[in-house]
């Protein structure tokens, strides 16, 4: 029996613990991504017997064509709308519910559940509900609007409106999740800090928020931002079920375009290129957020 040194044994244990998961990552994530990266330089058609190398052809088509640009700008606009709104509202609601805990704990718990419902529900099923609510003539929203003397709107089939409607649904879906995360962050702030702030003369609501709450929520905010951003970039279910990217590509987004090109048009090469661009966007966004926000985050 060979006696291994403690270091070697520790190393082997680490290897046993992390190894299988790492192997699975490599086989099921890194290798396929590599294949996709290679395919993105070809004109491969799903099911075809051969393909031709076309270099950056797919990429120049994505960035050069009107449709490709539309998918990119739509996605960026959607992300730009959803991130601030759902993070801001999440924080707002969390602070409200956190304070409500002091005087109406039961109501606070009830509201927390209500806000969390959209997160727990399947978005595809919820989309059907949204479709009925937003129906141009039968929907509740438009009937309410006409009651107030407003003009009924085609929420999902008006080219100028559809992306904003989808963004509102996206915010509705993520606010509850962000609220729960912020609530957890708020509860973990030690109450002594508020007392200390009081002693130091920061007794008002605003100065308490700026000097204690906000800095201590830093790590939570960073996490919430990253999660919201990746989710917003991945917007797909609502587009696929409610608009199919239409009307006339007005709600086409990157992920929906890659689905459409790959699985409806069978252009595997082009859709691989979109996938790579999508990865790049996510990577840049995540790194940027970590760099920028981390500088201002006060870890304990």
């Amino acid at each position: 029996m060979i006696r291994l040194s403690r270091n070697v044994r520790d190393g082997l244990t680490d290897f046993w613990l992390a190894g299988p998961a790492t192997l699975a990552m490599i086989v099921f994530i890194f290798v396929p991504v590599l294949v996709v990266a290679v395919l993105s330089f070809t004109d491969y058609q799903f099911g075809a017997r051969d393909f031709v190398w076309i270099g950056l052809g797919n990429y120049s088509k994505l960035f050069g064509s009107a449709l490709g640009q539309k998918a990119i700008t739509n996605t960026l606009l959607y992300v730009a709308l959803v991130i601030p709104a759902s993070v801001g509202l999440g924080l707002f609601v969390a602070i409200g519910l956190h304070r409500m805990l002091d005087w109406a704990p039961r109501l606070s718990h009830l509201l927390r559940t209500v806000y969390f419902l959209p997160v727990a529900a399947t978005l595809v099923a919820m989309s059907v509900a949204w479709q009925m609510v937003l129906h141009p003539s039968l929907g509740v929203v438009n009937q309410f609007l006409t009651l107030l003397g407003g003009e009924p709107k085609s929420w999902l089939s008006d080219r100028g409106l559809v992306l904003y409607t989808l963004a509102v649904i996206g915010v509705w879906q993520t606010v509850g999740y962000n609220m729960i995360l912020f609530l957890a962050g708020l509860t973990s702030i030690p109450p002594e800090l508020y007392d200390a702030a009081d002693v130091d003369g920061a007794g008002g609501g605003w100065s308490r928020f700026w000097t204690v709450t906000w800095p201590l929520l830093g790590p939570t905010t960073l996490f919430v931002l990253v999660v919201t951003a990746t989710n917003a970039f991945r917007v797909f279910e609502t587009v696929a079920t409610l608009t199919k990217g239409g009307p006339a590509f007005a709600s086409d987004t990157l992920v929906y375009a890659l689905y459409r090109e790959g699985f409806v048009y069978f252009k595997a090469g082009y859709s691989s290129a979109i996938t790579m661009v999508f990865f790049a966007f996510l990577l840049v966004l995540t790194i940027a957020q970590f760099r920028i926000v981390e500088r201002r985050v006060h870890y304990k």
Binding site: A48, S157, V264
Partner: protein, 416 residues
């Protein structure tokens, strides 16, 4: 207990001993429409052909997904022997060399077996028969008679021209804020249907050029604008309109005849949903055709013995007996002339389904191919056509937009 076991073992031995049994694998899509029908077809076929066993693959959710799966299976070498695919999608398989031509099996008696020229055209490419229609649908008018009466129209004298239909739609539209006159989807197949009603064709005969930038095409596309400005068409998506029609807030709707059953169920007793044929706008009625949706069956196996068995199955489901089962269960029109001509098959069914008779005779009289555009961009350009119809509905000049669309397609499809 022991004897039961032996009996079972013997039975198993007996079935495998009857030996020459061939098994064929069948693929289909859209279980919501087809699941029961497929079981019924397989059972009826196996009863007549005890030496052939039909094994049905788990269905694909829709035709697009079905074709994807077939392509994947062909890469993996596990292709089924026979497949039901969308009538506009079998050419995706054909262009990859997956379909086996059927001319040898059909022989020269196709007409006698109920496969008319029009019906064969649905599965033909470059003189070879690659697919046979199994169920068909064309664009028809769904009408709400209550709204027509309230607007001062009558079902007996329902207008037979697009002008008349638009005029009536305007009156229906004026009935109230939440009542709409007319609707049609902004979609490739719908545009091809209106084009066919005007006697136009999407592509030239040899498919080397776009042909819809003709007088007929411009007038057909122009209807989208007239429906909006004169008939009060809203910019509904298809789901929204399919809710509005059975709910009784939409007067006239151009849609696929395959939705008939669903709409009738949706309308229930609230009003008597009525199906009328799409108006014909061409002076030469012989030039009219309606692109036909629905499904086709293709032969995929290249094994000679299994091809024989598969062909028996294919001729059964496209023959009168199989077609009767399909029509009674799905609401699609049959793709075999014998089953319509001979009252012994569906006479009783049509007596109780006036709407079905209207829709099915339109198929029998005017069925034509649903053109799929050639080449790798073929599916992608259909979305460009849909987008152009949105533009025209929202006010773009029909003539200029249709010409621009035709030019874009020529470049995309490599015709120029």
């Amino acid at each position: 207990m022991k004897s039961l076991f032996f009996a079972a073992a013997l039975a198993v031995a007996a079935t495998s001993a009857s030996a020459q049994e061939t098994e064929i694998r069948v693929h289909y899509a859209i279980p919501t429409i087809w699941a029961d029908t497929q079981e019924a077809l397989a059972d009826a076929f196996m009863e007549k052909n005890p030496d052939i066993k039909v094994r049905i693959d788990g269905p694909a959710e829709n035709y697009a997904e079905g074709v994807q799966r077939l392509l994947r299976e062909s890469v993996a070498g596990t292709t089924p022997d026979v497949a039901y695919v969308g009538l506009n999608r079998w050419r995706i398989l054909e262009s990859r060399g997956m379909t086996q031509p059927l001319d040898g099996f059909l022989g020269d008696k196709a007409e006698e077996l109920g496969y008319t020229r029009a019906l064969l055209s649905l599965g033909e490419y470059k003189g070879k028969q690659h697919a046979l229609g199994t169920s068909a649908s064309t664009l028809v008018m769904y009408v709400n008679p209550d709204l027509v009466k309230r607007a001062g129209g009558s079902m007996e004298n329902f207008p037979k021209t697009f002008d008349g239909v638009i005029e009536l739609a305007a009156k229906i539209n004026a009935l109230g804020d939440n009542i709409d006159g007319i609707w049609i989807d902004r979609h490739d197949w719908r545009f091809q249907s209106l084009l066919g009603a005007h006697g136009g064709r999407p592509l030239s005969g040899d498919e080397s050029d776009i042909a819809f930038d003709s007088e007929a095409g411009i007038r057909a596309a122009g209807l989208y604008q007239r429906f909006v400005t004169e008939g009060g068409m809203k910019s509904y998506g298809d789901n929204e309109a399919r809710q509005a029609m059975p709910a009784g807030t939409l007067g006239i709707m151009f849609e696929s005849s395959s939705l008939q059953k669903r709409f009738e169920q949706g309308a229930g007793d609230a009003f008597e949903l009525t199906v009328l044929p799409t108006p014909l706008a061409a002076t030469d009625k012989n030039s009219v055709y309606f692109p036909t949706g629905g499904s086709a069956i293709v032969l995929l196996t290249d094994d000679k013995a299994r091809q024989e068995a598969a062909w028996k199955y294919m001729s059964f489901v496209t023959g009168p007996e199989g077609q009767k089962i399909i029509v009674e269960n799905t609401g699609y029109a049959p793709a075999n002339a014998l089953v319509i001509e001979d009252d012994a098959y569906l006479g009783e069914f049509y007596k109780n389904n006036r709407n079905a008779r209207v829709a099915h005779s339109q198929v029998a009289n005017y069925a034509g191919p649903w053109y799929s555009y050639p080449g790798p961009e073929g599916v992608a350009v259909t979305d460009l056509i849909a987008a152009a119809m949105v533009d025209i509905a929202e006010g773009a000049d029909p003539e200029a937009r249709v010409r621009e669309l035709a030019e874009t397609l020529r470049i995309q499809l490599g015709m120029k």
